[in-house]
């Protein structure tokens, strides 16, 4: 799969310019690559390594530490079901069982149509809406079995396309300015 495309490279370079040291942009660039391809491809990791001046192994070694960075393909929608204490007390394991049964797919697996990957998540800081779920890091909850089925039906039909971008897209708001403290880049 792909190295970063021209648009991604432009955004990567703008991101690198924000940090006193290039390597600080490594994780933001991993998110950028995931936004492009849905996961971190070998080629993208090699490209990020070139851009921030480290080896591809250092990119992989860093990326593999983090739960949000996927080194293998995932579905268009990664459904992270929290089962930590607050959600567990609200029936999260029942919800997880239901999710596996209704999608016919276990934790860590992707459905045959490539639409859904189920993850068992640690606390997502949505405990006031337990049990809570994130789809590509967008919140839903509290959810019962019927609510879960409606959610996956809406995702499959495209009804939530405006709310939930494909996996890997994190912030859809880009930075509008460079660094300005020295009065150099006052491009408002």
């Amino acid at each position: 799969m792909a190295r970063l495309n021209a648009d991604s490279v432009a955004e990567a370079e703008a991101t690198i310019a924000l940090y006193p040291q290039k390597r600080s942009a490594l994780i933001p660039l991993c998110h950028l690559a995931q936004a492009q391809d849905g996961y971190l491809t070998e080629d993208a990791m090699a490209h990020i390594a070139e851009l921030v001046g480290v080896t591809p192994a250092e990119v992989r070694g860093t990326a593999s530490f983090y739960d949000m960075l996927h080194l293998e393909p995932v579905g268009r929608y990664v459904i992270a079901i929290c089962t930590n204490i607050a959600c567990m007390l609200a029936g999260a394991y029942d919800l997880l069982e239901h999710a596996e049964a209704s999608l016919g797919s276990g934790v860590g697996q992707t459905t045959g149509d490539g639409l859904f990957t189920i993850e068992e998540a640690e606390c997502l800081a949505g405990c006031d809406n337990a049990p809570c779920v994130q789809v590509n890091h967008r919140y839903f909850g509290p959810l019962d079995a019927a609510g879960f089925d409606r959610l996956t039906a809406d995702l499959a039909s495209g009804a939530l396309d405006g709310t939930v971008p494909h996996h890997g897209v994190l912030s859809r708001v880009t930075r509008s300015v460079g660094l300005e403290k020295d009065g150099e880049a006052a491009a408002r």
């Binding site: 530490f65 890091h137 009065g183």
Partner: protein, 436 residues
């Protein structure tokens, strides 16, 4: 007692559009920063000292003292810790999503006070909407003249970068956070040096403050440190944002005057938690994030006060309270918390990496009905290897406090509910069934 103290950090959240610049300005936003810029950095820090603002991230260290470690340094970075991942804690999530300008204003004030020319807000990666709102607010703040070259026409200039995390609990630990911000695995650094104020980001002096901590700064500068210190009592001043979850009728966030309100008020008052869900009996609470030792029904009349909770052998920590009722299996609860630590251990230190794995497996077999009576001593022995003496605050065998936090839930559950463990062993299963 529930006081009528006005909320501080949540005062705008009644508005649907609380995250926008127009609403922020309409409700007095950036007045604190404008005032700060008419004061010297020392005067700003002096107001925060007077406020006795305790850090809201979990350790409760006085914010003013933290700043005093590094004022007027040659190069100083300010890093705001928004990597909120302590289970059952959701206050920073609320603040970045619903009032991002308040976070940014506080960040600028803190940077001014410590003399930083570049600041970073490290926001938990899973907060996609929060990241969007923060970036939008950051863009707006630049356009408004609140960031960048010569802020509001003053001599002070600051750049702010919104930095996304990538999913790792350990990055809430400030030295791990700095490693992550340097583009590395989130491995906590060996101490000493204890404070990033000495050696921080890129080896330079760095001040790390929590999202809720900086969210208070605009108000403190505008109204004065004494007005903040007039709320609460003792060392627990001001208001605090508490996150209530578990088996209560009304889980949610509640900003309350520190120290005055009790755990009982928070859980049972109809305007707050509204009592136990379904009217059951309270069995145990976790008073300050899952790293904290548990309390029982006898400790409910304690105030939400950092010192008081500390003296009673636990901590107010991240300000999140989890309620367990009489239908809750405490073995299962302690197992799930242990599993969390096992998954999130960074793996550098043997007691934490191996200990969490052992504990998780032994807890799982007890909950599953395959445990032995001797497992209880085995658990306590393994806990003792991670945090010798099982005292509070825990003794440390590891680089950071994640390891010594692991035994809290298991030791609490065994101490308070030994019989319930034994029932699991004798009956060969969980008396609460799968749903407990």
């Amino acid at each position: 007692m529930i006081t009528n103290a006005s909320p501080i950090v949540t005062r705008r959240l009644g508005y649907e559009d609380s995250h926008t610049l127009s609403r922020y300005l309409e409700t007095g936003g950036y007045a604190g920063l404008r005032k700060a810029l008419t004061m010297t950095p020392d005067e700003v820090a002096g107001e925060v000292d007077k406020a006795s603002l305790l850090g809201r991230g979990g350790a409760g260290f006085p914010a003013g003292r933290k700043w005093s470690f590094r004022r007027h340094a040659e190069t100083t970075y300010l890093v705001v810790n928004g990597d909120e991942s302590e289970p059952a804690t959701f206050k920073d999530h609320l603040l970045v999503e619903r009032d991002p300008h308040q976070v940014i204003e506080g960040t600028i004030i803190a940077a001014y006070a410590v003399g930083a020319a570049q600041a970073f807000i490290f926001c938990r990666g899973e907060f996609a909407l929060g990241l969007e709102r923060l970036q939008q607010a950051c863009n707006e703040a630049y356009a408004h003249g609140a960031l960048g070259h010569r802020i509001f026409g003053s001599e002070f200039s600051l750049d702010l970068v919104i930095h996304p995390g990538a999913g790792a609990y350990i990055c809430g630990e400030e030295t791990a956070l700095l490693e992550s911000l340097e583009g590395k695995r989130g491995f906590p650094r060996i101490k000493p040096p204890y404070f990033p104020a000495a050696v921080g980001l890129y080896g330079e002096p760095t001040i790390v403050n929590n999202i809720e901590t900086v969210s208070n700064l605009g108000w403190i500068v505008e109204h004065g440190g004494e007005a903040f210190a007039a709320l609460g009592q003792g060392t627990s001043t001001g208001t605090r944002l508490f996150a209530l979850s578990g088996r209560v009728e009304r889980p949610g966030w509640y900003e309350l005057e520190m120290s005055k309100t009790t755990f009982r008020d928070l859980i049972y008052d109809p305007s707050l938690g509204g009592g136990i869900k379904g009217g059951g009996a309270l069995k145990a609470i976790i008073p300050g994030g899952v790293s904290a030792p548990w309390f029982g029904p006898d400790e409910l009349d304690m105030g939400l006060d950092q010192d008081e909770v500390g003296k009673a052998g636990s901590m107010l920590g991240s300000g999140s309270i989890v309620v367990m009722d009489d239908r809750t299996c405490v073995v299962r609860a302690a197992w799930r918390i242990t599993r969390f630590f096992h998954r999130e251990s960074c793996g550098q230190c043997t007691p934490c990496r191996e200990g969490s794995s052992w504990l998780e497996q032994v807890m799982r077999r007890i909950e599953g009905g395959y445990g032995r009576e001797s497992d209880l001593e085995l658990l306590l022995d393994a806990c003792d290897n991670i945090a010798p003496g099982l005292s509070w605050p825990p003794a440390q065998t590891t680089i950071c406090v994640l390891g010594p936090s692991i035994p809290s839930s298991i030791a609490s559950a065994i101490k308070m509910f030994r019989d319930e463990f034994l029932v699991h062993v004798k009956d060969g299963g969980c008396p609460f069934g799968a749903g407990g």
